[in-house]
């Protein structure tokens, strides 16, 4: 019952200043933990989409959803089921590449992970890797031995597969029966 799990929550909000603050502040105020958060505009220009990953038990997540729904500027909240959701995160990783050997090793790893080299200098590379968080973790671990100078990760963004969409018809959380 109280087993912790990672949940991905898609939140459609009014695209107005201060709304991200409202959402983030609610998490702080109610002592819910945000694992990652990404935000951007949507196909409708007056709506923004916040993708939040939260770790918690089922009861906590229910509260998170209900408290999000209470915010006036939140238009729609959905839990994305990991089984039928496309989840992506992007990372930019600046790695030391001190010699030709290191450089070629890194390039090989990048190819295996289907990443890209997006910047090259005399003794460093910037790699772009996209995938789920585990894949990015794995890549970072792999190149740690070369010396990581900087990492920037976007946080998770996600969409459910198929025709299902998070639309802006507000619907309160279903009563448990």
């Amino acid at each position: 019952m109280s087993t912790k799990q990672i949940y991905i929550i898609g939140v459609l909000v009014e695209h107005k200043p201060g709304v991200l603050y409202e959402v983030a502040n609610m998490f702080r105020r109610r002592a819910f933990n945000i694992e990652s958060l990404s935000v951007g505009v949507t196909e409708q220009k007056d709506l923004a989409r916040i993708t939040i990953t939260v770790s918690g038990d089922q009861r906590t997540i229910e509260q998170v959803i209900k408290q999000l729904n209470k915010l006036i500027n939140v238009v729609k909240v959905s839990i994305l089921n990991p089984k039928n959701t496309v989840v992506r995160e992007m990372a930019l990783i600046k790695v030391h590449a001190i010699d030709a050997k290191a450089r070629s090793d890194i390039i090989q790893y990048v190819n295996v992970f289907r990443g890209h080299i997006v910047d090259v200098s005399s003794n460093s590379l910037i790699v772009e890797v996209t995938g789920d968080s585990d894949k990015i973790d794995a890549f970072i671990e792999l190149v740690t031995s070369f010396g990581i100078m900087e990492v920037a990760r976007t946080g998770i963004t996600a969409l459910s597969r198929g025709v299902k969409v998070i639309k802006n018809n507000h619907e309160s959380v279903k009563e448990a029966t």
Partner: protein, 562 residues
């Protein structure tokens, strides 16, 4: 479409919402607004501290059910209302605060009297918004009223930069507002209603726990109907006090840390709890796993986030309490089988008699209970009582029998000392023909007494009863019981002289030394057209009992040994 300044549009919008009174204090950033108010026909009540303006709006809202309006300037004016907003938020009271803000170009520059009131009040308002253009004013005001009053009510704050107040724009007062993220659900699910009816019919020992939601949704009538039909006793939270008349045979009074002994005891014996508009606050439930441990719980609340927030419930119903109670009743009257519950009813009456407060006052000193009981005798049913916070509040809750909804006004959730007096002023403005009495303690009253000036200047006569133990009484009680009588910083040492204090503000003060004196004083005060402060010395050692010590269950209460 008409061209108006932002300030004119705001006042026009308020008039369209039928606002007749505003509580506030002017200042630099609201000067354009106050200039329009000057000859607007709306009555402005000048408070003497912005916190009081917010509490007045709150008291007004709680007795009338109509949003209370308060106004403050930017910076310190705005931050002073924060306690008032937080108080209203915790008790779901619809107040609307308008604050001035520095001119748009100065926002974020740490200008004189600039405060980020939107950032500050986000966690304590149902909704807040800063107006960026004057033309948004009509729709913003409409939205503010709609949000404050519908669903689970709550405070709304509207922040208006000074140059938005002076900016002219074409105003459209007829444009509809759209809130796609806010559609409160009020109709109960029929399946849940049927299940609730079944559970209620099956139960042997059901209890209804009426929270503030019964008062807010005006469903006293529906609650009483259902209770009488099922022979189901009704206990209340502090906020639910007055849901049904407390003289009714099915009324158990308040449950909780300082609940009535019979109510607390019966809660632990019940097999079904119908909690209505109640948020399972810790001061009412005490230790949650010992709160009606044998009962199934039906929880009706309009705020779905309250379901399962604190307690696990067996049957949730997200709906307006009035609709839910009426529909459950309809379901139940259709059924032919009626449970025999005379044993349960007898048990209730037995416990009520058993714990009936024996009045064996030896007369040495005035007992707070006697004062509160005498007060009830002196007042008409519809009289409004407000309280401060602490011992005075609990004595009032325990011993003052509330007979009508919206006549017992108290800061329940936030527990704001200093609330009762300004709330009483606001209540009196809403109901000028009804006597309004603040049951106060000396510690609480001092926190907002400067608004005696408001009472005098604005001719708002109320009565303040100070149960004066010359202590921060509840703090002292805990220190007496749990900290070895080490009265750390809780002694007030008979300062000030409340009679002189009242007189200094143009009110009248009287000190009474016996119940008989009190009886005379209150009767005189009720006839007076200025505010009366009645100072009543009581024993500094007097405890509020029963008491469930922190961390214990409702069954483990300390009761009066007398």
């Amino acid at each position: 479409m008409v061209e108006l300044s932002g300030a004119q549009a705001l006042v026009e919008s308020l008039k369209r919402e039928k606002v007749k009174e505003i509580f506030g204090i002017p200042g630099g950033s609201v000067l354009p607004l106050y200039d329009v108010l000057y000859n607007s026909g709306i009555r402005h009540i000048l408070a003497h501290h912005e916190q009081c303006a917010a509490h007045m709006a709150d008291g007004f809202a709680r007795v009338s059910g109509f949003p209370g309006i308060c106004m403050a300037t930017s910076g310190p004016g705005a931050t002073n209302i924060v306690t008032g907003i937080a108080t209203a938020y915790m008790d779901s009271s619809p107040i609307i605060a308008f604050t001035g803000q520095v001119v748009r170009a100065m926002i974020g520059k740490d200008a004189f009297q600039e405060a980020d009131i939107i950032g500050i009040t986000t966690p304590i308002t149902k909704y807040n918004v800063q107006i960026k253009n004057a033309s948004e004013i009509p729709m913003t005001v409409k939205t503010a009223f709609h949000i404050a009053l519908t669903g689970r009510p709550g405070p709304v704050l509207v922040d208006i930069p000074k140059d938005v107040q002076t900016e002219s724009a074409e105003m459209d007062f007829s444009a509809p507002f759209e809130l796609r993220g806010y559609k409160p659900k009020t109709d109960p699910h029929p399946i849940q209603i049927r299940k609730a009816a079944e559970l209620l019919l099956q139960a042997e020992r059901p209890i209804m726990l009426a929270g503030g939601g019964i008062i807010i949704s005006n469903s006293s009538h529906e609650a009483l109907n259902l209770a009488e039909f099922l022979l189901m006793p009704v206990a209340t939270s502090l906020m639910g006090k007055g849901s049904i008349p407390e003289t009714h045979p099915l009324s158990l009074g308040m449950v909780g840390m300082h609940g009535k002994a019979e109510a607390n005891k019966l809660m632990t014996e019940s097999d079904l709890l119908l909690a209505v508009g109640f948020r399972f606050s810790d001061r009412t439930t005490c230790r949650l796993d010992q709160f009606c441990p044998d009962a199934k719980i039906i929880h009706i609340d309009i705020d779905s986030a309250e379901i399962g927030k604190n307690a696990k419930v067996d049957l949730p119903i997200v709906a307006d309490a009035k609709k839910a109670l009426a529909q459950i009743y309809e379901q139940i009257v259709q059924k032919t089988i009626k449970k025999e519950r005379s044993n349960w009813f007898e048990r209730i009456q037995l416990l009520k008699t058993q714990f009936q407060n024996k009045n064996n006052n030896n007369g040495a000193r005035i007992k707070p209970r006697d004062i509160v009981v005498e007060l009830r005798r002196s007042l008409p049913n519809k009289a409004i009582v407000t309280t401060e916070v602490g011992q005075n509040q609990m004595w009032a809750a325990l011993h003052f029998q509330t007979l009508e909804p919206r006549t017992f006004i108290t800061s329940g959730g936030l527990g704001t000392m200093g609330f009762g007096f300004p709330a009483a002023l606001g209540a009196k403005v809403a109901k000028p023909d009804v006597p309004v009495i603040d049951i106060a303690g000396d510690g609480s009253f001092i926190m907002t007494e400067q608004d005696l000036a408001t009472s005098t200047l604005e001719r708002i006569p109320i009565i303040v009863i100070i149960l004066n133990n010359s202590m921060l009484g509840m703090v002292a009680q805990w220190q007496r019981l749990f900290y070895g009588k080490r009265y750390s910083a809780s002694e007030l040492k008979n300062v000030p002289n409340f009679v002189k204090l009242a007189e200094a503000y143009g009110a009248q003060g009287v000190r009474v030394e016996s119940c008989k004196d009190f009886s005379n004083a209150i009767r005189k005060a009720l006839r007076s057209d200025i505010t009366t402060v009645i100072d009543i010395p009581i024993s500094p050692e007097e405890d509020v009992l029963p008491m469930v010590p922190a961390g214990m269950g409702l069954g483990d209460m300390m009761v009066d040994s007398e």
